[in-house]
Symmetry: C2
Amino acid sequence: MSIADPAVAVDAMGGDNAPEALVAGSLQALRGDAQLRLVLVGERSRLEGVLARAAGAERLSLEDADSTIAMDAHPAHAVRAQPHSSINIAVDLVAGGRADACFSAGNSGATMAAALLRLRRQPGVARPAIATPLPTPNGTTMLVDAGAQVECRPEWLAQFSAMGSAYVRTVLGIARPRVGLLSNGEESSKGNALVQTAHALISQMDLNYVGPVEGSDLLSGRVDVVVCDGFVGNVALKTAEGVAAMIMAALRQEAGADVRSRLGAALLLPGLRRMRDRLDWRQVGGAPLLGVRGLVFIGHGRSDAAAVASALRVAAQAVRAGATLTAGLLPPVETESLEG
Amino acid sequence: MSIADPAVAVDAMGGDNAPEALVAGSLQALRGDAQLRLVLVGERSRLEGVLARAAGAERLSLEDADSTIAMDAHPAHAVRAQPHSSINIAVDLVAGGRADACFSAGNSGATMAAALLRLRRQPGVARPAIATPLPTPNGTTMLVDAGAQVECRPEWLAQFSAMGSAYVRTVLGIARPRVGLLSNGEESSKGNALVQTAHALISQMDLNYVGPVEGSDLLSGRVDVVVCDGFVGNVALKTAEGVAAMIMAALRQEAGADVRSRLGAALLLPGLRRMRDRLDWRQVGGAPLLGVRGLVFIGHGRSDAAAVASALRVAAQAVRAGATLTAGLLPPVETESLEG
């Protein structure tokens, strides 16, 4: 293993389109990166059909799992009840040093539970957080936390801001990432109690903190990191996806409304495709789980091959950037046992 | 005053585009409703320029205010310090029975404070909530609360669900409005502590409660009312606006990219306009403040004439529906003095 030849473990069984999309996305990622190595983790019996396509692929190996954690399984229970499931094995490969990073589009709660149990937290981290990249007109903004912790303390949000900033600095190469705290207005008088206290804490930290930002700044490109609790992050993320899907559906409907519109849409098609690609969450890669001792990437359950390939590209980029141990300077927080 | 000839007081000084947009929107509303009467409230000296256009308009009267509450003023302070400001006078006209409803696109916190102070809450209501209508493919969904209460107790969310349901039933004429509770997943195991407790409470109520819904259901049309605390509601609303604005900007950019695209966009233009109108928050009217003893409508600060006219149309509709006293059956909540 070296950071020049990153090895990424792929949970081939996780996600709505598994295993096909995972295998196809893996092959696509290998074609796009001549140094990348991948380990497909899954139940051999269920993979046989699609493995034929992957047979003989260089830099692709297989690792057996005896089961798959269902998308709707209770995360902590399932991770314990199915120790040799594909998610657990993928995380184990990272824990044991046989892979530099892992990726799953399966049960994200289970992926998080497996990472906590088998990799444990980085020193001083109270809670891990999911950092989901959002497309903006000029790059990406990381939403931290996008759903890992639905009930947060202010100090945890302060840690999320340091963790998100460190990730963006290390992996995306932005020297002083701009950090915003998601609130209901830009004035520091706005916000609920959680946000007001977190604002005071983050203001004291050595970060490029721009202050409270609003929901409209998730995609405006004004900041590189938006910090919030995982409940709010999940709602914002799904609202954004819902609005985008609704507009694209309305556009499709209008584009087919009559002959004139169909002709117009045909002429505009290359532009519409560029627009769709630019807004597409599938193009911006998987979401790193910040705060654990290893690189774990979580994919959307609906990930298709393009989304998988994009996530694996980002995972390889993170390995090469040496992001494993860069949580940054965290404000001290009382941490209790989570992994027991 | 009668509900056939509704009289609506309009804060002519409130909003980024005041007074022009307020006056123009008022005239537009009068043209669209032959029974509507409007009372423009504002500082005569600052209204003179635009009043010339309104002079002689039937069913339009003027009411003097001595000042205007600034958009960024502290709501409770300003409402007390400027008792004869346009927002206060507009609310006073409702309190005194000279208007059936009022509308302001000004400082929404001040409008709420004025309503609490001068109209007071409906019996049994713990906290008022803002119900913002969102456009969906087949109508509107009311988001309750869209920003009035950033820190909520579970019982308040339960009341919001009853208040929202009653408004939709009375004003929009939907017999059994479908109510959803905004959460980070549809399973009742999801949600933070606030949402989980609220879910248990709402499940016991005589409502058409569909259970927890996700951010994507704000615009899907799956429910008629989405209940959440005002912090989450504000973030979701501004996220939705931000995504829509970003997509429309990307569409404009692609439509002007080259000759072919410009021709395509020109052909598709009627469809694009229909789509824009369908998604436009300005078309769906103002947001009623639920839970106070009178009809108070809050407009977006950026309201233009079309948005004002649309809000006044909805206000008139609410008056005609007799929505004033229909809070519905509220679950009992300990209420403390707010208006003091």
